[in-house]
Amino acid sequence: MAHRSAAIEASGLEKSYGAVKVLRGVDLSVARGSVFALLGPNGAGKTTTVRILSTLTPPDAGRARVAGFDVITDRRHVRRAISLTGQYAAVDEMQTGEENLLMMGRLTRLGRTEARGRARELLERFDLTGAARRAVGTYSGGMRRRLDLAAGLVGHPEVIFLDEPTTGLDPRSRQAMWDVVKGLVTDGVTVFLTTQYLDEADQLADRIAVVDGGRVVAEGTPAELKERVAGRRLDLVLCDVAGYERAVRQLGVRLVWSDADRLTLGVATDGGAAHVRALLDEIDPERRAVDRFTVHSATLDDVFMALTGHTARGESRNATGESAAEGAKEAAGV
């Protein structure tokens, strides 16, 4: 059933927790040696999908094969081929970075010397050699995530699952993490990551699947998705209510968002001068109705609006980022 080239193959995955249907039939296919991103807001089913594919949770319905093995009937083989780096750093704060990696080495059946060599190699590669002998509790968020990722690589996995690898990180640590993830692919491994950031999926992934409400609502290369969503958004402030209402009518379904109280609305654009000029001419041929305009990068909300017809549950991208950062802080404080 699985193609030779597919590292991950899933069809019809369903999962409920009590009365809550988290997955409603997820189909995925990920080519070997590629980076695949599952993009979606909190509660879309990203983590549940990762947990099913990494054999931690059985699905209620559907089938999945990872590295050629069935995640239900051949769990053991799947586990030997994968590594999972979850949302919350799965390393011991009271052990040093080196001890954590040595322990992972021993647990993946490396000999003592081999484990030592592998730990040294990974510490070097993830720029943690200087902190190797310090307790992980003293690490910064970015260092901890890098160590967490290194711990997942000790056993030379074929398929690497990264669940929100940069949520809660500052921009610089985020960039460092991106570089690390890009480096993984040169080793020929397959990376399956989840994210709520469009730019992260854009930067890292060969293909992106957008999930919402437990379903894949769109899939394609970053370029394909951006074409459908448009990369940018033109926001207009209208002069009066009549002009505002006329513009809303005229744009119809192309309207990305609107705020009648502030006479403001947004419409998708590629950000090019020609397109912006054409839009302005279309909405305001007499050049009197539009007061001001701004061009923004499209946010996850815009992607969602365009793909699903509704926003990401009313959470702006900033708000989700903040609440996730808080969650990560809480987890680190435990």
Partner: protein, 247 residues
């Protein structure tokens, strides 16, 4: 098996670095022993030197309290991401929990030895031969093992470290309604039934008998049956509890 050894090493390292917890586990029983011997001991008549009477009870308090701490170390793992990582490495619940239990046994063996040392310093003079000492060590070890597995189960059931800490409290309290600190016949009648038949009593009676070279009677067997029973039930249940918790 080798996974369990690696994970035991991990828990020991983590324990060593959590010095507050280690000190509490060692100092609390010593303090209690001093309180009982010097503050209350003069007023309690047991027919022997009070220190001699009370040491088995303190041993047990120390072992129970320290072992109950396993609930806290287990829930700490369960609420973090590390168990998922272990599971994705194909390490099952048994080696993970066995690592906690084995570390608990080592930790409490050390703690118990320290309490014995202090007891000697304040005048505890047992009359036990080498065989008796071996039997004492065996019973204490079985008790520690049983309570550690049981408390690992509580760690799997509890929803928060605070709730898991409640089990520590229970284990600290259980020796009081027994013959640990005062003879049972000095307690009100309605307590006798519980005090005589709860698991702590035969363990204490067996330890006391062996250490003071008195007839042990059935208490040694009862102690082993209690500990063995708890151990089998707890170790058996822990597998199912682990699967339920991680599903």
């Amino acid at each position: 098996m080798s996974d369990a050894i690696v994970l035991t090493g991990r828990t020991i390292r983590l324990t060593r670095r959590n010095l507050d917890a280690v000190l509490t586990a060692m100092l609390l029983p010593v303090m209690l022993m001093l309180v009982f011997v010097y503050f209350f001991g003069g007023a309690i008549h047991t027919g022997t030197e009070y220190v001699t009477y009370v040491v088995p009870g303190v041993m047990l308090l120390c072992a129970g309290f320290g072992s109950a701490n396993t609930a806290v170390t287990v829930i700490h793992d369960m609420t973090g991401g590390i168990v998922d990582r272990f599971r994705s490495l194909d390490i099952g619940g048994t080696p993970i929990l066995a690592g906690h239990v084995a570390a608990s046994v080592l930790r409490n063996t050390v703690a118990t030895a320290i309490v014995f040392g202090v007891a000697f310093l304040i005048g505890f003079r047992p009359h036990a031969g080498p065989f008796d000492w071996l039997a004492v060590a065996g019973i204490l070890l079985m008790f520690i093992l049983a309570i550690s597995w049981l408390s690992a189960c509580f760690g799997l059931i509890a929803r928060s470290p605070e709730a898991a800490g409640g089990f520590t409290f229970l284990m600290m309290f259980l020796p009081y309604p027994s013959s640990a600190f005062v003879p049972i016949d000095t307690m009100p009648g309605w307590l006798h039934g519980f005090a005589e038949h709860q698991p702590v009593t035969p363990v204490i009676e067996a330890l006391r008998g062996l250490l003071l070279d008195r007839p042990v009677g059935d208490s040694a067997w009862q102690a082993l049956v209690w500990c063995g029973g708890i151990l089998v039930v707890a170790a058996g249940a822990s597998g199912a509890l682990f699967r339920r918790r991680t599903a």
